[in-house]
Amino acid sequence: MLVYLLRRIAQSVFVALAMMVIVFFGIYMIGNPVDILISPDATPREIEETMARFGFDQPIHIQFFTFVGNALQGDLGRSFVHGESAVTLILHYMPATLELAALGLFFSILIGVPLGVYAGYKSDRWQGRAIMTGSIFGFSLPNFWVGMLLILIFAVELRWLPSTGRGDTVEVLGIRLSIFSENGLQYMILPALTLALYKASLVTRLARAGTQEALVQDYVKFARAKGVSETRILFVHVLKNIMIPIVTVLGLELGSMIAFAVVTETVFAWPGMGKLLIDSILTLDRPVIVAYLMMTVLIFIVINLVVDIVYTILDPRVRLTGGST
């Protein structure tokens, strides 16, 4: 298990390095941030001074090595706009996005798994078909539209939930979170539901396919022959078998939920990383964009690692082979 983990971490380091190359040169292609940073009527001398201050006058490979050198020390540069360290800036906005993604993930499991298992159980009845048809909407409706629709229904018409902003936050271990305050939680429900809708449809479809496959297995028939109730068969025998693909997909999707909550955060004016990214792209705030992308890579790497570890908990067969190496 330890060897396996070490090997995975080594792979991750390589992925991170490769990503650094791609991110750095990719951003370099976008444009010169100096054009936006200083006023158009600045003298060539002023421009050159600014270029020198940020190190843009150096050849690109020198710039790259400086970037890697700093990055390895945890320094991804200072925001041109905010003047703060880019990493600090991202870390400041990150908790809001993380808690939103976590609640979204929770909703998608809460909605997707029972619906999918039920749809698989009743796959040739109208209930199963109705759930499947419904999941198509979850897939195909654009995120921003769903968000606006939810605001229209629950905030404007019914007035049950607030529409935009973050609400009260509570400090937990030095991080400001909304999820633990009742008022803050109310602000989270609509954006989290918007984020969850697509994933919930995905989980529904996965759970349905898995359930259909599991239900014809001998172990289900044998459990029936033991007199075990249908509920227990579905939610113990079947569910534990179908959780493996669901955990894999959800793990990857959690990454994308954190990294690309941009649209949802914009619709709900949620002050998270996604909104920071949009603002930074508009001002070509290079260090923040780079830091954001590197952070995203890091999140994906960590999540993949966690997924692999969760596997071993879900599937005893993986545990055994892992333990013997």
Partner: protein, 326 residues
Amino acid sequence: MTVLQVEGLQTHFFTDAGVVKAVDGVDFSLDEGEVLGLVGESGSGKSVTGFSILRLVDPPGRVVGGHIMFRGQDLAQLPESEMRRLRGNRIAMIFQDPMMTLNPVLRIDTQMIEAVRAHERVSAKAARDRAISALAKVGIPSPAERLGAYPHQFSGGMRQRVAIAIALLNGPDLIVADEPTTALDVTIQSQILAEVQDLARDTGTALIWITHDLAVVAGLADRVAVMYAGRIVETGPTDAVLAGPDHPYSVGLLGSIPGHGQRGQRLAQIPGMAPNMADLPPGCAFAPRCFRADARCRAEAPEITVRGSGGRLRCHHPMSAGEVAT
């Protein structure tokens, strides 16, 4: 005392290609502690008969006719909730492939304890103790430790023992065993057969042993029923049927077993193939492959005749009746 009395059992599969009469008019009965060997080729309906008794036939299959009288109640008419209470409790089943019957992601103790607690309100501790004694009964060494293991940590033979232990947990009146030793190698097979025989004798549990292997039946069963194309064509005490089979199909089955003194000779085989169950011939289903068949066999299906030995037969021209009249 009679435990199970099956009368005119019909289980049909409603497929797109037409109605497949997998089981079409099967009768047999079983006394306490009796072992019935249900023999036939693949597709003869023997497994479907077993699943019909537990009402576990997968759709599009359905029990469409007949009675399954178990201790005075007709299982064919029983509501599903009451049927569930009988399954694993009064009637247990053992499946063919031990690699597939245990849930790979649940520990053995989970799978055994749930079988006890599905039927009785007992503490987890009591259920666990019962599981341990059941595992010990089927010859699993250090059962208390093995309870915490997962199925993949057992060999095929051991898994089948676990499945048998699960079947024994609630002391059922009847166990339906669907080719439980077919997937195992011969030494394990004979061990398990011997153990099951002892267990059935000790507990008075009646046993339906479904198999295609006549050698297994010879050593285990009190009575044998030979199935062909969804019907029992011959039944009787094992010794009588094996020593002097009356139905040409039984003769063919026995003839195709490799035996002593046959070295160098070709094995006898039954000509032709098992019939297409969706399109059976109008008369006797075996007629196209039968060396004694005549026009009557092809036109009219034989009814059941009761033999002197207590056996029953479906044949116009049984072997003991001498040469075929032409």
